[in-house]
């Protein structure tokens, strides 16, 4: 994921006037040319005001420690949907879809606690066997000696199965969940997006709410069980959600439950291909896998940014932030901050303190499913390495046009015969 960029990109990033640096352009992530712009900002203007962008003016917070400061101060830095929510791009006012990630306490707390037991330790232990059995089945089905798409055959397949289990969704229709996930996060301006306007997105997500609403109603009438729809249907803080909040909550759980892990499964394989000595180290010592998983999650950084809105005048990194300002914390940058992480552009599978990355966020909005994500990734590498010591990346990835989800939509690979 850090290919040698051509000199033109580096010198452009060095020479552009600071006030013209706008890291919100989704093209930077589709082209994978974001690195030098953030390196410049961390060095010259770590809390950076971008006066003009297609999303209006915003602050770009680029250093690990400043990002942490925003994360832990939810009293000042709000996630509320009414103020704009958690993405640099606001959802259209009449179509906004609140969910607990787009709320502040106390409502955030009440709703989050309804679903968090799905990933409690005992439940995770129960899931380990089924995840391993599926992983083995998917890996055993891969062809040798021919090029195939790792994303479709492995990353999407495994994470979609996980989603179907989490929602107890009809198995044969499970790719529908992945489709809605892609609809929920896509940039409607990208030519290859599944929908091309906010209206179209809203219509598709309404269909999702209808399909899952039917299951929700069935489960409301049954005794509680351990799937997300049943939990939402029986949770006091979630059972009576208005329709747009229901849509938002489903979208949150579906996207959070698959896309991030999906892209980390792909990004991890790419990263190990780019670092053959690390790939070898991992093969020679599988006990490093849990640490390598954390390191891969850092290196890949599946969520590019989160956005907050200042609820009062405040100060950050010596800059005066005004009430109402849009404050964007760039995880991709904090995870590459050399003041927090030594040699951050290298993947180091035995890196000390590898868990101390920003990819899951920190504070009250920290990723609910982080342990489940780690579990799936750990099992993937535990089962992959002994079967196929090397999976070769044989062509460039197809990256997503997005400044929010660090997505890889296709990756040609080959398992040597």
């Amino acid at each position: 994921m850090s290919p040698p960029l051509d000199d033109a990109v580096h010198s452009a990033a060095q020479n552009i006037p600071l006030d013209r640096i706008d890291v919100s352009d989704p093209q930077l992530y589709q082209d994978d040319t974001w690195y030098p712009y953030f390196a410049r900002l961390r060095r010259d203007d770590p809390v950076h005001y971008c006066p003009e962008s297609r999303y209006g003016p915003y602050w770009a917070v680029t250093r690990y420690k400043d990002i942490m400061q925003v994360e832990v101060n939810h009293q000042v830095y709000s996630s509320a949907s009414e103020l704009g929510g958690i993405q640099i791009e606001d959802q259209p006012k009449d179509m906004d879809r609140p969910s607990f990630i787009r709320m502040d306490p106390p409502k955030h707390d009440d709703q989050r606690k309804v679903v968090s037991p799905v990933v409690a330790p005992a439940n995770l232990a129960n899931m380990e066997g089924v995840i391993r059995e599926r992983t083995i089945r998917v890996l055993e089905g891969l062809p040798r000696g021919e090029t195939f798409d790792w994303v479709d055959r492995v990353s999407v397949e495994l994470t979609t199965m996980m989603l179907a289990t989490l929602f107890d969704y009809p198995w044969d229709d499970r790719r529908q969940l992945t489709y809605w996930s892609d609809v929920a996060i896509c940039n409607v301006n990208a030519p290859d997006s599944p929908v091309h306007s906010e209206e179209e997105r809203f219509a598709e997500l309404s269909r999702m709410a209808q399909a899952l609403g039917k299951l929700f109603n069935e489960r409301a009438a049954q005794p509680p069980k351990f799937d997300l729809l049943s939990m939402l249907a029986h949770g006091e803080a979630t059972q009576g959600m208005p329709i747009r909040e229901f849509m938002g909550t489903l979208a949150l759980l579906i996207v959070g439950g698959n896309d991030t892990t999906r892209n980390t499964m792909t990004g991890g394989l790419m990263a190990l291909n780019e670092h053959p000595a690390e790939y070898r180290k991992l093969r020679d010592d599988p006990a490093l896998i849990p640490n390598a998983v954390s390191e891969i999650i850092r290196y890949v950084t599946p969520v590019i940014h989160m956005r907050r809105t200042a609820k009062e005048d405040t100060e950050l990194g010596g800059k005066k932030i005004a009430k109402g300002d849009k404050v964007v914390i760039w995880y991709v940058s904090g995870n590459r901050d050399p003041d927090a992480i030594a040699e951050p552009d290298r993947l180091v599978v035995d890196r000390p303190r590898a868990r101390q990355h920003l990819s899951f966020g920190f504070g009250i909005h920290r990723c609910v499913g982080n342990r489940l994500a780690e579990l799936q990734l750990r099992i993937l590498w535990e089962e992959l390495l002994p079967r196929y010591p090397v999976v070769e990346v044989v062509g460039p990835p197809k990256r997503l046009y997005s400044n929010f989800i660090h997505g890889i939509r296709a990756l040609p690979v080959r398992i040597p015969t």
């Binding site: 707390d109 037991p117 101390q356 920290r366």
Partner: protein, 108 residues
């Protein structure tokens, strides 16, 4: 130095000496005691250094103030109990010499 005993979920005990001024979390991490992840490095931002304070020590460690960041983070931790603390928020002092903390089944 204060002697602190960390009891793993499975029952294994680790008795180590921790210099006053460090946190109970740091004492575990510096001595490679398994079961404390401390993902945020001590910022009270992740709830992965969760411990149960032995009841006889609660009056000396105290409990998190209601409405505090620690109380808020702990409220999202799986398996929290009334004697739960985030060990990054317990400062070691001579008064805590002999402290016993137990580790939960998992850090979430």
């Amino acid at each position: 130095m204060a002697k602190i005993t960390y009891v793993e979920h499975g029952g294994r005990e680790h008795r180590v000496e921790v210099p006053p001024g460090l946190s109970v979390m740091r004492g575990a991490v510096d001595n490679n005691i398994p079961g404390i992840d401390a993902d945020c490095g001590g910022e009270c931002a992740c709830a992965t250094c969760h411990v149960y304070v032995d009841e006889t020590w609660l009056d000396r460690t105290g409990v998190p103030e209601s409405g505090s960041q620690e109380a808020s983070m702990l409220s999202f931790a799986a398996l929290a109990r009334p004697n739960s603390r985030l060990s990054c928020q317990i400062a070691v002092s001579d008064a805590l010499d002999g402290l016993v903390v137990r580790l939960p089944e998992g850090q979430h």
